[in-house]
C-alpha cells in the first residue's frame, strides 16, 4: 500500500495495475465514476513520464492506455481530496472489483 503524500496543495497516491490487459475500458469507466463521486479536483497519470489528466473525464482516462504492471499515480486537491485519492488507490489495488 503506497501511503498518501501531501505536497504543494495536492494529496498524492499510486497503485500498480494488476489486470493482465491493463486499464481497459471497463476499469477506466469505474475509475472515472469513482473520481466523480468527489468534489476534489482529481488527476491521474500512467507512470512518472505520463501527463496528468482529469480523472473525471472518461475520454482522458480511456486514452491513458496504461498497461499491466504500470503504476497509476493520482493527485487531488480541494474538498475531500484525501478520501478521493484513497478510494482511487484502493480501487486499483483490488483490481477494480466492486
Amino acid at each position: 500500500m503506497s501511503g498518501l503524500v501531501k505536497e504543494a496543495g495536492y494529496v498524492h497516491g499510486a497503485a500498480v495495475i494488476q489486470d493482465p490487459t491493463g486499464l481497459h475500458a471497463r476499469p477506466a469507466v469505474k475509475l472515472t465514476k469513482s473520481a466523480k463521486r468527489h468534489g476534489a479536483e482529481v488527476e491521474v497519470r500512467a507512470g512518472e513520464a505520463g501527463n496528468w489528466v482529469n480523472a473525471k473525464s472518461p475520454n482522458a482516462v480511456m486514452k491513458l492506455k496504461a498497461g499491466h504492471g504500470e503504476e497509476l499515480q493520482f493527485r487531488a486537491r480541494g474538498e475531500d481530496a484525501e478520501a478521493a485519492v484513497a478510494q482511487m488507490v484502493a480501487l486499483v489495488e483490488r483490481d477494480f472489483q466492486e
Partner: protein, 129 residues
C-alpha cells in the same frame, strides 16, 4: 438521490440497439436510465419515429436525455421525434454526434456523476477528437 441525464440509443438494427444498451448498463451501472430502439415500423432494418419518441419519454427526466444514433436515417428520424415532443421536453433532449456504442458508454459515464446535459453531450462527442 439526484437524477442523471438519461441515454437513448437509436440504431437501424434492434439487436445493435439492445446490445449497446446492455453494454452501457454493464459497464456504467444502473444509475443511468438507458432506453433503446431499432428497426423500422415493419420490423426490418431502419428506425421508427414513434418508437424513438416513446423511448425518449420512457426515460425522460428534468436533467434531460442524450440520444446516440448510427446511420443517417436514425439521426433524421430522431430529430423528427424530438420535435414531436412537447416543447419544454424537447429542449432538454439532444442528439450526440458520436459513434453509437462508444458515445453511449462515454455519455453514460459522464451522466453517472450527475453532469448536466451539455457536459454529457460534449463527453460523447469528445471521443473522436
Amino acid at each position: 438521490m439526484s437524477e442523471s441525464v438519461s441515454i437513448v440509443i437509436v440504431s437501424h438494427s434492434p439487436q445493435v440497439a439492445r446490445g449497446a444498451a446492455d453494454m452501457v448498463r454493464e459497464m456504467v451501472g444502473e444509475e443511468v436510465q438507458v432506453a433503446h430502439c431499432g428497426g423500422n415500423p415493419a420490423g426490418g432494418l431502419g428506425t421508427d419515429v414513434m418508437a424513438i419518441k416513446s423511448a425518449i419519454e420512457s426515460v425522460y427526466n428534468q436533467k434531460g436525455v442524450a440520444i446516440l444514433v448510427d446511420l443517417g436515417g436514425a439521426e433524421t428520424n430522431s430529430e423528427m421525434a424530438v420535435e414531436m415532443l412537447p416543447a419544454e421536453m424537447g429542449e432538454r433532449v439532444v442528439i450526440c454526434n458520436a459513434p453509437i456504442v462508444e458515445g453511449a458508454v462515454m455519455a453514460a459515464t459522464e451522466a453517472a456523476g450527475g453532469a448536466p446535459l451539455e457536459a454529457v453531450k460534449a463527453t460523447a462527442e469528445e471521443f473522436l477528437s
